[in-house]
């Protein structure tokens, strides 16, 4: 969005360039560091090795680590996802890349039935330390079969952890934690964020920087209304908050960081302060992340603090169209968030 780019330009002018890292580079750093740290870690997927990654996320890794650790697979999602799960069962720590999560549908049985459920079915005898990662959700102009958000589908299942980073610190810290986790993690990236640079603190640039899975982050404090989001839309929420601030409406913006287990306590604490809640996501409305947040708020202590029902801002309930004007109107825009905030506040 133009506003975000303006914000970014200003930020970039203030911050020394070498402290700005793109999400792509942050993910690359995370994998590089974990590959170096633990020889059981390896990466497999389509084009991850010699092509440097379909989206260049694994750039340079094959050159550094070779064929054994960075493996190009044929176009066989069900096969290579199963192979990755088997390797995890036998003591390795695979990172299984889906070129996009749309293709994970081919392999979803391996993710759910072979990976997610095994620790429970075996009463803890058989662990599956695996990370499934790749771009999730809408990109730009890739149309219906390549634009689905899988956060709700995977987050539905016990036995999985589902992580959805927004900025570079999130990407690096959460990917490192996911790789170190002894359980199956679905790591949902966003293609449109890969090229976006974010400031990274010195701490975040260290080799042992991790962000705990299951903890949300308050990106912006506010007192009038809570906005909860994940991935790309955190940025949209911050943009909306900047505009609303000029009108005297102070939004608290929460970056979920993890979808499952969801940090409901952070949302509740915020709602108990602001009394209003808007959820923002790119996925479809029915049975989605926002729907889950609504249900959890209703069941918990924060319900009585609400001054109005929770509002969900979501993608439009349609397969993604191709034409730009249609695509733009299929996903939450900043004006949709601003509109929803005002409606929720009844202003």
């Amino acid at each position: 969005s133009p506003l975000f780019h303006k914000f970014l330009k200003e930020a970039l002018n203030k911050v020394p360039k070498d402290k700005c890292v793109t999400v792509r580079d942050a993910l690359n750093q995370a994998m590089d560091e974990e590959l170096e740290r633990d020889e059981r870690v390896f990466l497999l997927g389509e084009e991850v090795a010699q092509y440097d990654g379909a989206y260049k996320v694994s750039r340079g890794l094959w050159k550094k680590y070779g064929d054994k650790r960075i493996i190009d697979t044929p176009i066989s999602e069900m096969g290579f996802a199963g192979i990755a799960v088997g390797a995890a069962m036998a003591g390795l720590r695979p990172i299984c890349e889906f070129m996009t999560f749309n293709f994970s549908m081919q392999a979803i049985d391996q993710v759910i039935n072979s990976a997610a459920k095994t620790c429970y079915m075996s009463a803890g005898l058989q662990a599956v330390p695996i990370v499934f990662r790749g771009p999730n959700g809408a990109s730009a102009g890739v149309a219906a079969q390549h634009s689905q958000c899988f956060a709700a589908w995977y987050a539905h299942c016990p036995g999985l952890k589902v992580v959805s980073p927004w900025n570079s610190e999130d990407a690096k810290g959460l990917l490192k934690s996911s790789i170190r986790d002894d359980n199956p993690v679905v790591f949902l990236e966003n293609e449109l964020l890969y090229g976006v640079p974010f400031e990274m603190s010195e701490e975040a640039q260290s080799k042992d920087f991790t962000i705990p899975i299951g903890k949300a982050k308050v990106e912006r404090a506010g007192s009038h209304i809570t906005l909860v989001s994940h991935s790309r839309y955190v940025g949209h929420c911050l943009d909306a908050a900047a505009v609303l601030a000029k009108e005297g409406i102070e939004c608290e913006v929460i970056n979920l960081r993890t979808i499952r287990p969801m940090d409901v306590e952070s949302i509740e604490a915020s709602v108990m302060k602001t009394n209003h809640l808007v959820t923002v996501e790119g996925g479809w409305p029915q049975f989605g992340v926002g729907a889950e947040i609504c249900a959890r708020i209703m069941e918990g202590s924060a319900f009585n603090y609400l001054d109005s029902p929770v509002t969900r801002v979501t993608g439009v309930d349609i397969p993604m169209p191709y034409a730009k004007i249609l695509e733009d109107h299929s996903l939450p825009q900043i004006k949709d968030i601003i509109f929803s905030v005002k409606k929720t506040l009844n202003v």
Binding site: K68, M78, G79, G86, A90, Y120, K161, P261, G300
Partner: protein, 380 residues
């Protein structure tokens, strides 16, 4: 595994046996080969100790499965129960040819392999009856039993095959000279993910023995009605294959040894088809006679039963006496009975265990129960 004993006198039969220093050498038919110049040796040596051990293993599996049948009919076992009686030579022969440090994964007809891979009869039956003393503490059931280097027990037809290839990848990666035996049935042989696994295993030369246990029926569908090609040992296409008499424990052992050598020498994967038969229906809810005749089942029982065949061989070559076999039978019956006793008297898992083991090596977490006020605890 080998403990050669002194030579026993033997009758040199016209058909297939010579006595050798340590036991007997049996000859059998040449295996059908696919993309192989040579196959497993035509002869197999069997010592008395080995023979008795294979007998004991197969008979234990047999009696355990029949006990499971009984318990199921008494409604003490519920849900899915896919019995292995008839196929014992496959599990026994394979285990005889690989090391305990090798790996094995199979589908849902898994009780036999669970036993050969080291889980006690007690823990198997108690898992079937859903008790806390079961190998998976009652959380898994018939299709989800695990042990070191044994990865179940898998309920989704064919899904275990990519898993097995992945385990083989781990062996190769770790350079430990181990291999993975990956089993599937004639029904699963038509799953696409098998061909994806074959491709990657061959491409990367994974030390994986893909074994099709062809028992002629995928649930109620005969092989002729399911597969355009019923030469399952050829279905690996560019992967060499062997077709083996799966009712003969020695054939299975020799073929698997051959396959293991192939893998360990870095030649890549190999496919084996074991021609075998199951006496029971597909599962306990299938009488097994609507798609095949009782005559067919009876014929296999009388002419090709794996346990009888081994016993007769040993008896007619004076490798053991009728009394010895009887003693073994009595002992096994006792063990199975004791295990069944345990499996029926052991308590069910405590409710506190309901939400445990969702994760491995994880701090405790809260799990939502059936209603919002029900907050359950999960430890790993």
């Amino acid at each position: 595994i080998f403990s050669p004993s002194l030579l026993l006198t033997s009758i040199f039969s016209l058909t297939d046996v010579v006595s050798v220093q340590s036991g007997c050498r049996f000859f059998h038919q040449k295996c059908d080969l696919h993309r192989l110049e040579e196959g497993p040796p035509l002869k197999a040596e069997l010592t008395r100790d080995q023979g008795l051990q294979y007998y004991r293993t197969m008979q234990t599996v047999r009696r355990m499965e029949l006990k499971a049948d009984q318990l199921y009919k008494q409604k003490i076992i519920r849900g899915f129960c896919h019995l292995y009686d008839g196929q014992e030579a496959c599990a026994a022969g394979i285990e005889a040819s690989i090391n305990p440090t090798d790996h094995l994964i199979t589908a849902y007809r898994a009780h036999g392999y669970t036993y050969t891979r080291g889980v006690s009869i007690k823990e198997i039956l108690a898992e079937l009856t859903g008790r806390k003393g079961g190998v998976a503490k009652g959380k898994g059931g018939s299709m989800h039993m695990y042990a070191p280097h044994f990865y179940g027990g898998n309920g989704i037809v064919g899904a275990q095959v990519p898993l097995g290839a992945g385990i083989a990848l781990a062996c190769q990666y770790q350079g430990n000279n181990q291999l993975c035996v990956t089993l599937y049935g004639d029904g699963a042989a038509n799953q696409g993910q098998l061909f994806e696994s074959f491709n990657m295993a061959a491409l990367w030369k994974l030390p994986c023995i893909f074994i099709c246990e062809n028992n002629k029926y995928g649930m109620g569908t005969s092989v002729e009605r399911a597969s355009a090609s019923i030469d399952y040992y050829k279905r690996g296409d560019f992967i060499p294959g062997i077709r083996v008499d799966g009712m003969d424990v020695l054939c299975v052992r020799e073929a698997t040894k051959f396959a293991a050598d192939h893998c360990r020498s870095g030649k890549g994967p190999i496919v084996m088809e074991l021609q075998t038969y199951r006496y029971h229906g597909h599962s306990m809810s299938d009488p097994g006679v609507s798609y095949r005749t009782r005559e067919e089942i009876q014929e296999v029982r009388t002419k090709s039963d794996p346990i009888s065949m081994l016993k007769e061989r040993m008896l007619s070559n004076n490798m053991a006496s009728v009394e010895e076999f009887k003693e073994i039978d009595v002992d096994i019956r006792k063990q199975v009975e004791e295990a069944a006793q345990f499996a029926t008297s052991d308590p069910e898992p405590p409710l506190e265990d309901l939400c445990n083991h969702i994760f491995y090596n994880n701090p405790p977490l809260e799990v939502r129960g059936t209603n919002p006020w029900s907050k359950l605890k999960s430890v790993s």
